[in-house]
Symmetry: C2
Subunit: 189 residues, 2 copies
């Protein structure tokens, strides 16, 4: 994933307070060729977990999760933040503190698309504190499905998400690991 590393170094901006702006290829503008490569690599790394479904959270997780699911030939479900009118009245819902928003957000999945026999790979754009991913893992658990792995495009390892996810006992993979953002720096592992 040298291309991803290069893009982070060339285009990423350290906005302070741990906020890494990668709006030009991942979060607002998306480079579909790069994201396809990321999905291909995540699918390769998780080949052995035999996932039957990819799960992510709207909004920025969608592009990398769809790309990963494409290369695994499995469906992808994105947790919603608000219940759309098309969802059944009974849903799977959890609340996760949001790092970048300040407020807790709801993560909502229709039980129609997360059955007990599913083997679920969680994919997100960022692994930071891990709170969103832990929320998704709770939904997998509530559905009676099995979490088989967690993948992220970019990990900010200094925010402790990897430690927070340790209790899940599944492989955790990220394609680029930011080790330090102090003093305006962006340091990749």
């Amino acid at each position: 994933m040298n291309t991803l590393h290069q893009r982070i170094m060339d285009e990423g901006r350290n906005l302070g307070r741990g906020i890494l702006k990668v709006d030009s290829f991942l979060n607002h503008q998306v480079d579909p060729q790069l994201i396809d490569q990321c999905g291909r690599e995540l699918a390769r790394r998780f080949e052995r977990v035999e996932a039957t479904k990819v799960l992510t959270a709207e909004i920025s997780g969608i592009a990398p999760a769809v790309a990963t699911a494409f290369h695994m030939s499995v469906p992808v479900v994105y947790a919603r933040r608000t219940r759309p009118v098309t969802m059944p009245e009974e849903v799977l819902l959890t609340v996760a503190p949001s790092h970048t928003r300040g407020l807790p957000v709801e993560l909502i999945i229709s039980p129609e698309f997360l059955g007990r026999n599913e083997r679920v790979l969680v994919i997100d754009d960022f692994l930071a504190t891990g709170q969103t991913i832990l929320g998704l893992a709770r939904l997998v658990n509530t559905a009676g499905a099995t979490l088989v792995g967690v993948g992220a495009v970019i990990e900010k390892i200094f925010e402790g998400g990897r430690t927070a996810l340790a209790s899940l006992n599944v492989p955790v993979e990220s394609l680029a690991i930011v080790t330090d953002m102090s003093d305006g720096k962006i340091v990749l592992a």
Copy 2:
């Protein structure tokens, strides 16, 4: 796009009031192989407009827009509904009435990613009343860029979106056209 038509007939549900539930492959769960095919076909239909960027609105537009942009080898931008902390303080913003939500929603784009020289193809999951797409077209206009086409995966032609978009004077393409949803029916053209 026979596969798409088949999926709509097999899995689509008419929830009344014009609401077509296609949560199993497009809106909540996404079938990445199907969406890739949709993107390939939209890219083919718009080959001649020479788009330099695809534009969509979060949330459900993201997957088909990324797939289309992938097959056109151009970046895709998704308009946000709330301004994230990574956006500049000055943004392009418009308000569009939301059919499924009842309330008007904001559509926000960073001017960093929509320049005056761009040729913009708008892609969305649904073409219904056309209000979201008209909102995106206003943002293109405000940015000084050129709108070159509008594509949707599913069009509900009885909601008048195609007529509403006529003033834009660009080609409008949809991969499946629903002509009638009265009395619980789902009729495709």
